[in-house]
């Protein structure tokens, strides 16, 4: 079994709770355990809020999430100016910003930032899934 959700969204803050809720509901239907769903909600939110905050000048972005072989792969793609992931600094202890990437790195099993100067940023997040004993099908 393989499941994919893909959305083309306006670069609008209201899109973030929408995709978060949609993916969470899909993962719940598949029987993914709540802790993993919480982590995925947060990783996804960080990647999407970054598009809203930083991905000027794009006005749309896409999110796709695929579940296959007990792995969830999320791709958030914008058409903004992109950024250089190697130039990110760790947030200072009392700093307000700069924790999004830190959180993604902490929660995802794998994070990749990809960039093409004229095509914006691609954030790819992977998370290994665990399922409740009564999960339908072998979603794995």
């Amino acid at each position: 079994m393989e499941a994919t959700i893909a959305l083309r969204l306006p670069r609008d803050a209201a899109s973030v709770p929408l995709i978060r809720q949609m993916l969470d509901a899909a993962l719940r239907s598949l029987g993914v355990v709540p802790d993993i769903r919480d982590d995925i909600e947060l990783m996804l939110t960080e990647a999407c809020s970054n598009v809203i905050k930083h991905a000027d000048p794009s006005d749309e972005y896409t999110v796709s999430a695929t579940v296959h072989n007990a792995l969830c792969v999320i791709r958030v793609i914008d058409t903004g100016d992109g950024f250089d992931p190697h130039r990110l600094r760790e947030a200072a202890p009392g700093a307000e910003g700069g924790r999004g990437v830190q959180i993604m790195r902490a929660l995802a099993d794998d994070v990749r930032f990809d960039n093409r100067r004229e095509h914006g940023a691609i954030v790819c997040l992977e998370k290994r899934l665990s399922f409740l004993p009564d999960a339908p099908l072998k979603a794995g």
Binding site: L42, T45, S49, K53, P93, G94, G97, R99, I103
Partner: protein, 101 residues
């Protein structure tokens, strides 16, 4: 949706009880809050939160700084295990001086 309940158990203490989602889309409601002068203590009860993201954490850090400036005691209370874990991940447990679990 974020709900904020503001309590004043005494004239120098403010108690904020947050519930719902504290994220990028709702955080301005919390940032817009102004704390009265003469504050000695700011308690933030997070037990009702369903979701928090880095923007929500940033708002907590902002409250922490406001309390510091007022020389008030800042305390995050009623953490769920998930939130405790997240504050640990982001090293905010040390900034907020959380007692060890």
């Amino acid at each position: 949706m974020l709900r904020i309940e503001v309590g004043n158990p005494d004239t120098t203490t403010v108690r904020l009880a947050l519930s719902g989602d504290l994220d990028f889309t709702s955080v301005s409601e919390l940032s817009d809050l102004t704390l009265a002068d003469g504050l000695h203590r700011l308690d933030v009860d997070l037990s009702g939160l369903d979701f928090i993201d880095s923007s929500g954490l940033a708002a907590l850090i902002r409250l922490y700084h406001q309390a510091e400036e007022a020389h008030a005691v800042f305390q995050v209370t009623a953490l769920t295990p998930y939130l405790r874990h997240l504050l640990h991940t982001t090293a905010l447990d040390r900034l907020f001086r959380l007692p060890p679990a």
